[in-house]
């Protein structure tokens, strides 16, 4: 089945729910840090990078320099290079005009949802999914700045679990299908924790190295088996 726009709306909804309260928190933080509404929206409209935006505003408040902030952002978001590559490899013949749009919308959440969606990825599916997520991020930012905390504090705090719950829910059906999913995800989590807690690497790097290292280990473990299948399927 080829995935279409309507599936993009369906699959984008959990991201919309997850992003809105976090974006509101960003709007509130930026306002309290003395940013104008245009600057605050500018971050969400042009940077669109979750945790990096929070870190940047905190660094601005602390008086960090431009170079330092930009470098921290590069580090924290470099994993999206790997995610974009993985997504792009699944899609054939993307139109020239679609590439800059699809690339801009790649986030941890859009990537995770799209990667495990049942069916063939299409430009219309991915762009709809991404647009939904993006709109929620931008609207949430504006809402947070303008009206501050409209949600009860208990609910606002609880919603921090939302995107993690979504990641769990994306992974579970894969765990049922294949032992590969559990092995690779668990190993990657362990490697990430070791780099982060024991070696004290910045989180941006520890995630990138965990993804690269464990995916390579995966090729090493499962590579032979799939090239056998490849041969078998040609026989």
């Amino acid at each position: 089945m080829k995935l279409q726009s309507k599936h993009g709306i369906r699959d984008g909804l959990p991201i919309v729910i997850g992003y809105f309260p976090i974006a509101m928190a960003f709007g509130i933080l930026a306002k309290s840090g003395g940013l104008t509404i245009m600057e605050t929206l500018g971050f969400s409209l042009f940077v669109y990078a979750g945790a990096s935006q929070f870190i940047a505003v905190n660094m601005i408040i602390l008086g960090s320099g431009v170079g330092e902030i930009v470098l921290a952002t590069l580090l924290l978001n470099f994993r999206h290079f790997l995610m974009s590559a993985s997504l792009a490899a699944k899609m054939d013949n993307i139109k020239g005009i679609a590439k800059p749009i699809l690339g801009f919308g790649v986030t941890d959440e859009a990537f995770s949802v799209a990667s495990f969606a049942e069916g063939t990825l299409s430009e219309s599916y991915l762009s709809t999914l991404e647009l939904f997520a993006y709109s929620s991020w931008v609207l949430g930012t504006g809402t947070g700045f303008m009206i501050g905390g409209i949600l009860p504090e208990v609910l606002q705090r609880s919603m921090d679990i939302g995107l993690y719950a979504m990641f769990v829910a994306i992974l579970v059906p894969e765990l049922k299908k294949t032992s590969k999913a559990l092995t690779l995800a668990l190993l990657s989590g362990v490697v990430n924790s070791v780099f982060y807690y024991i070696f004290n690497w910045p989180q941006g790097w520890s995630i990138v190295i965990a993804i690269v290292l464990v995916s390579l280990i995966g090729v090493f473990i499962y590579g032979q088996e799939s090239s056998d299948q490849e041969v078998a399927s040609h026989e």
């Binding site: 470099f78 590439k99 690339g103 995770s112 679990i161 979504m166 993804i211």
Partner: protein
Amino acid sequence: MSNITLIILGMFLVTYIPRLIPFYMVSGRPLPLKLKLFLEFIPYTALGALLIPGSFTAISGMPMVSVVGLGVAFGLSWKKGGLIAPVIGAITIISIILWLQ
């Protein structure tokens, strides 16, 4: 240009370029089998690294509460599938726990 505008511009470039380039490098090209496999495994390894250890500190200062929320998401997803129910379920349980405290 103000400092903030400069920061936004710099951050725009360093977040956008890495997520854009692969769409030009990879898309529509025949790839060696090993590279294809490597890229196919990234969704699993990325989810693993995004979840562990970050998810245990989702609710700051309350790792056990975070784990309960993740457990609820896991259970709902295992029984019913879909994304919305696990997300809403985890948020609801944690709201109740935090409200009771």
